[in-house]
């Protein structure tokens, strides 16, 4: 049967038209044509501009007939378009008045805010023709990818081990050994490696379309071009970055990225996206017209009463997240990624901004965050907040959550770093962090899984650099070393940077093992930075946001050189998986003791059952007890962050149980860590001499 509504009712030049459907926004394939729909509250009129793919000049411009406008939505169906081969944009006419926040310019061709594929920048680092009037071209995306039986994995938070990575940096280095370095496709080749490491979730730095040429310049220090490499500056929220796809030049980026997600899922690995809703690539008052500014500036951005952009993001503008229209766009965007790309969760960059009112003030119950927490489509997605912003709002432990939102635990990072480097008086803080930060996250309301524990992430030193540098070395960024954090709580182990000193290198490896041991033994959700497992370095650069070169690319040669580290990471991850008692408590089980009388978690010092939380302490013992199918499970961890050796009295075990060594970071490889189940029985069951700056992990069985 041919439906009547598949026939045109209007004609404009050679184009057949019909009034469109206002929702969904964007371009949607309908029988016989394409439904276009775009919101603007303040525009007087709108035109659809059509291009043949790759052509500079448009071949047609079709005004939305006024009788097709519904409310503040311009919508129409255009029939018989060769949708495989067109690109489109909008022109909006309306008031231009800076003080009132209106920036309409009917000459500008604007990207569809809902574009699901974007052309124009298909190859990374290829300098665009800046005279081109339309840089980012909306394309029609297809939803015909064959997912077979795939679905988001829904791994419980308590079992998650997150690996944070940059799509390009992960394989761009010549040592990566992949066919198309730096692309989505290349990641697929590395999935067996990630499986061997044992992580079950990757968190990708921004993969939305962004402009690597934003603020691009030549560094006078290195004479290399500096790029917007991290990509925390969105051009299009609904489209994967074309130049991250090896097939981007064929316009197949949507399929290539879906193929990566599907492959990850087949291998038991979830995919979390780092999403940036706090600002866009249009920058401040001097920035370019890409989309929002020309479509409805006043709706999409937070403006001062005088019409300037608020800058809570530190990047020139602030998306007006709690305007209901923008809020819905964010929701539509996340739903799209969850439903069409099977994404497992989201990490929200500078998420505190999402809780700011339209005048910038923090809200008590931000409607956007509440909407996301309760949205049916996002119902099983992980929601993770970076709970601060560049405007001074710091909400770690206090981010509005409705029991759904987890947080990057910045206090975990800082306290564990201080403890690791031997600052005195941090044993108590370390105990809180190992325990899932109950001082920050109420156990009954939010639980330990609200805490995403991390010691390193893309923003800051790599783990190798954390133990190799006292100071940041960001000269290559061309900002006089003023950028990047000064509060790194790092220690170089005796000399700044690379050294041939065996003693220092041994200590650095030990500190790396100490760090990953503490991370993997902490309740909450561990997150590690990619490359830390083989000692990847950025040569002391703690803010490599602009370094698309060997500073930030993972050097896979180090995997061989530092196989000892990789081996340690691998085994400690298996250990965490095998011992549920070191993960967070079972849901809805708030008991503190087992039926054998042992506390589930207890703190110790030089003497068993006597933790030293004094202002001079650098020592901590932790005993975790659980009950499994084969009896009780005891794990005792002695952490000596003092530069001298200390004897730790061991807690007594029930009859029939003996202490066995699983790991001792003071021992030289291969005696630093043992295979699961092959732990070595201790001769002295009463005391363990823990070397200077060392972690020892014992198993009672």
């Amino acid at each position: 049967m041919i439906r009547v509504d598949t026939y045109p009712t209007h004609k404009y030049k050679e184009f057949n038209l019909r009034s469109g459907k206002p929702v969904p926004f964007g371009a949607t394939i309908v029988p016989g044509g394409i439904n276009f729909s775009v919101f603007s509250r303040h525009a007087k009129s709108c035109e659809l501009v059509l291009f043949k793919k790759y052509e500079k000049e448009p071949y047609a411009s079709i005004p939305f007939p006024d009788e097709f406008r519904i409310g503040n939505v311009f919508t129409m169906i255009v029939f018989d378009l060769d949708y495989e081969n067109i690109e489109y944009g909008f022109k909006m006419d309306g008031p231009f008045n800076f003080n009132e926040g209106h920036w309409f310019n009917k000459e500008k061709i604007l990207l569809d805010p809902y574009a699901k594929a974007i052309g124009g920048r298909d190859e990374w680092g290829k300098e665009p023709d800046w005279n081109n009037c339309f840089q980012y071209r909306s394309r029609i995306a297809f939803d015909d990818f064959d997912w077979e039986d795939d679905r988001p994995l829904e791994i419980p938070m308590r079992d998650l081990i997150i690996y944070e990575m940059h799509v390009r940096g992960f394989t761009r280095h010549s040592s990566s050994g992949v066919k198309y370095p730096g692309t989505f496709a290349a990641i697929r080749e590395k999935i067996p490696y990630l499986k061997e490491l044992g992580v079950n979730c990757v968190e990708l730095l921004p993969i939305y379309e962004f402009d690597e040429f934003e603020n691009s310049r030549i560094s006078p220090v290195t004479n290399e071009r500096l790029y917007n490499y991290w990509g925390y500056s969105t051009v299009g929220f609904f489209a994967p970055k074309a130049s991250y796809a090896a097939t981007g030049k064929y316009g197949m980026q949507v399929d290539e990225f879906k193929a990566v997600v599907k492959d990850f899922h087949k291998n038991g690995i979830e995919v979390i996206l780092d999403v940036v809703f706090n600002h866009t690539a249009e920058g401040n008052e001097n920035g370019p017209y890409i989309s929002f500014r020309g479509i409805d500036n006043k709706t999409y951005y937070m403006l001062t009463p005088e019409g300037y952009y608020y800058n809570f993001s530190g990047c020139g503008n602030t998306l007006n997240c709690n305007n209901p229209v923008v809020r819905n766009m964010i929701l539509d965007c996340l739903r799209c990624w969850a439903a069409e790309y099977h994404i497992d969760g989201f990490r929200f960059d500078l998420a505190a901004i999402l809780g700011r009112n339209q005048d910038g003030s923090p809200m008590h119950n931000p409607p956007l965050l509440e909407t996301l927490a309760f949205d049916p489509v996002l119902g099983k997605c992980k929601l993770i907040a970076e709970a601060w912003d560049a405007g001074g709002l710091y909400q770690v432990g206090a981010f509005p959550s409705w029991g759904r939102w987890a947080e990057w635990n910045g206090k975990y990072r800082d306290d564990i770093r201080k403890f690791l480097k031997g600052d005195e008086g941090f044993s108590g803080a370390a105990a809180q962090r190992l325990h899932g930060s109950p001082d920050l996250y109420n156990r009954h309301y939010r639980g330990t899984c609200a805490s995403i524990n991390f010691i390193t992430c893309h923003d800051g030193f790599t783990l190798k650099d954390l133990v190799s540098y006292n100071y940041k070395h960001n000269e290559a960024n061309d900002e006089n070393n003023n950028d990047g954090s000064n509060d790194n709580y790092s220690w170089n182990c005796g000399v700044e940077g690379e050294t041939d000193d065996d003693g220092i290198n041994f200590l650095r490896r030990k500190q790396i093992k100490n760090a990953i041991s503490i991370l993997m033994l902490s309740q909450g959700v561990p997150m590690m930075l990619s490359g830390d497992e083989f000692g990847n370095t950025q040569n002391g650069n703690n803010n490599a946001y602009c370094q698309d070169n060997e500073i930030s690319w993972l050097n896979w040669n180090l995997l061989n050189k530092n196989y000892e580290l990789f081996n340690y990471f691998k085994k400690i991850i298996v250990f965490r998986k095998n011992h549920p008692s070191i993960k967070s408590s079972e849901e809805e089980d708030y008991s503190t003791h087992l039926d054998n009388g042992y506390p589930k978690i207890s703190w110790h010092g030089i003497k068993a059952w006597e933790a030293d939380f004094s202002g001079t302490s650098r020592l901590l013992g932790m005993l975790c007890c659980g009950k499994g199918e084969n009896g009780y499970d005891f794990i005792y961890t002695a952490m000596n962050m003092h530069w001298e050796m200390h004897g730790f009295e061991l807690p007594n075990l029930p009859e029939g149980y003996k202490w066995h060594v699983f790991a001792n970071t003071d021992a030289k490889a291969p005696n630093d860590i043992w295979e699961a189940g092959k732990e070595v029985i201790l001769e002295n069951q009463n005391q363990f001499l823990v070397g200077p700056r060392s972690v020892v992990i014992l198993v009672g069985k």
Partner: protein, 105 residues
């Protein structure tokens, strides 16, 4: 390129691809493939030795072949050049077609 892509129809249908399969000629291939719908085709064999380039429009016709002609129909790509098989693999199409050096009936 010959006017017809399909040079054998039946349970095993054979198709010749050469030069470029892109926005210009993919719609023609699509029209020919539509004639196979409902024809009880077991296997569709694309001979691709001389195919130099496949665009997204070309790839979509392959997807069409798989999704519309029959879920039980197997798709074969024979002697395809590396640049073509790479695009097929990277866009995830390798999951539902066989890339082979030759085809034995």
């Amino acid at each position: 390129m010959s006017e017809k892509f399909i040079f054998q129809t039946g349970k095993i249908s054979k198709i010749n691809l050469s030069g470029k399969l892109d926005a210009v000629n993919a719609p023609l291939l699509m029209e020919e493939l539509k004639s196979l719908i409902g024809q009880d085709v077991d296997k569709i064999v694309f001979y691709a030795k001389d195919l130099e380039y496949i665009s997204s429009a070309g790839l979509r016709t392959i997807i069409f072949a798989k999704q519309k002609i029959g879920t039980e129909t197997s798709i074969y790509f024979i002697e395809a050049q590396e640049s073509v098989t790479d695009v097929i693999t990277m866009s995830g199409l390798d999951n539902f077609l066989y890339i082979q050096d030759s085809f034995d009936e």
